[in-house]
């Protein structure tokens, strides 16, 4: 099928099998390798992307279901400026406050957290832990991730 969608604000097309996973379309056809594959079963959240405003696991979404959709991946979080890319407040907070260690969960974690904050979600401990419950991290113990999101959210206010 000819897949047409908007990815990080740009119109993109790809010739793909209808059941090809969005994750593979992004990584193989569009060369956007920020979204990672952890489990391939919707358990780990490493492939989290946003489709039409909703957080999803890109490993569970077939190409035929995103025809015409607007997708945001981790590559879409940094702003393009005259001096090159500028990381988002949330991305910089993860770097500054130790929210990223080995880095495999980080793209999905940042996308999920950004989606939560963009939807007006609160940044109390309990709310953030539920919002990020589908994103597994084996390094940080989560505390520094939660703090990174909270500090970014406070800075933005």
């Amino acid at each position: 099928m000819k897949l047409t969608m908007t990815v990080n604000g740009e119109a993109r097309t790809a010739e793909v099998a209808p059941l090809k996973r969005l994750l593979d379309v992004l990584r193989e056809d569009l060369l956007l390798t920020g979204s990672k594959e952890g489990c391939g079963e919707g358990e780990c959240g490493a492939c989290s992307v946003v489709i039409d405003g909703q957080l999803v696991n890109a490993c569970l979404v077939p190409a035929c279901q995103v025809q015409g959709s607007a997708i945001v991946t981790v590559e879409g979080l940094a702003a393009q400026g005259p001096l090159g890319e500028r990381l988002s407040d949330l991305q910089r907070s993860f770097i500054e406050h130790g929210g990223a260690q080995c880095g495999i969960c980080t793209p999905g974690m940042v996308v999920a957290a950004q989606c939560h904050l963009d939807a007006g979600g609160a940044s109390t401990d309990a709310v953030l832990r539920e919002a990020l419950a589908g994103n597994l991290c084996r390094c940080t113990g989560y505390q520094k991730i939660i703090e990174s999101v909270q500090l970014a959210a406070q800075g933005a206010r």
């Binding site: 059941l19 090809k20 919707g42 490993c59 035929c64 279901q65």
Partner: protein, 288 residues
């Protein structure tokens, strides 16, 4: 990968019915994909899938309304939509609560109530609730529509009453009456992303420590999500005390048939299911 599977993405119920009428061998319906995409990626049972009917964008299967005391839920309603719906909170709040225990947000945005029903896993988290609530499943296809009660829809391990040319259209649930409650408890290894070890749901009206109109269902303790009629009979119309609770536990023991598997053991499931039942009944009867 999976390039060999033919897919039809229906944009209306008419288009979906037209494909169903062709009676293609090995037709599989794709809704939110949270089960089927895992199966396809793992290349499990692909030889049994001949053609995929994608219904994600069939508008007739979306939406939710409360009409004449019945909550009518389109089969493609996602867990996320159930969690956020004021109508669900008003008519059957337990359905919103259990939806919040399925996976996590990314799954809840994609997984559908109809998918949970049709996937027919004995561990489907909403299924005991639907059975206990007295859900009626509206099925439709090129030959017409019919309604099947949820407690007789599941026929065997992952086998349902759905015919090859039928779709689940809607789930109809009677809203709670005055003094009536629907309550459940899921037991899993962690709060999010866990597949249950056991899940018990009860619907009943409670007055003066006596339960009436008792409906009980259990998940993960039999090849199908199961209505527990012996446990119901032990509780119906009796003042709840230790002896009645013991009878209810015996009834439940007789109703269920748990197995050892990767997530738990039969003996654990028996013991915990009894404990959970007792706790839920005590709660309903105002004993704790």
């Amino acid at each position: 990968m999976s390039g060999e599977l033919e897919v039809t993405s229906a944009r209306s119920l008419g288009e979906a019915y037209a494909l169903l009428a062709q009676e293609r061998p090995g037709l599989r319906v794709l809704a939110g994909g949270t089960d089927l995409m895992v199966q396809i990626a793992a290349r499990l049972g692909l030889d049994q899938i001949g053609h995929v009917l994608d219904i994600w964008r069939v508008p007739e299967l979306r939406g939710l309304e409360l009409r004449e005391g019945t909550l009518r839920i389109g089969a493609l309603t996602t867990y996320g939509e159930l969690i956020k719906s004021p109508l669900v909170h008003q008519a059957l709040p337990a359905l919103a609560l259990v939806s919040r225990e399925v996976g996590a947000w990314a799954i809840q945005n994609r997984g559908t109530l109809g998918g949970n029903v049709c996937n027919a896993s004995p561990a489907g988290d909403t299924l005991p609730l639907l059975i206990a609530a007295g859900a009626r499943l509206v099925l439709g296809g090129p030959r017409g529509e019919r309604t099947v009660a949820a407690d007789v829809f599941f026929l065997g391990y992952r086998k349902t009453a759905l015919a090859k040319d039928e779709l689940l259209l809607r789930i109809d649930l009677p809203a709670l009456g005055a003094g009536e409650r629907l309550t459940y408890r899921k037991v899993g290894t962690r709060r999010a992303q866990s597949i249950s070890k056991t899940l018990i749901a009860i619907r009943a009206t409670s007055r003066d420590g006596t339960l009436r109109g008792v409906r009980i269902a259990a998940g993960c303790v039999a090849p199908i999500p199961l209505r527990c009629k012996q446990a119901e009979a032990a509780l119906e119309g009796k003042p709840i005390d230790a002896a009645v609770l013991a009878q209810a536990r015996l009834g439940l023991e007789a109703d269920i048939a748990p197995i050892d598997d990767i997530r738990s053991t039969a003996i654990y499931r028996r013991c915990v299911s009894g404990n959970v039942l007792e706790r839920l009944v005590r709660g309903l009867a105002g004993m704790e």
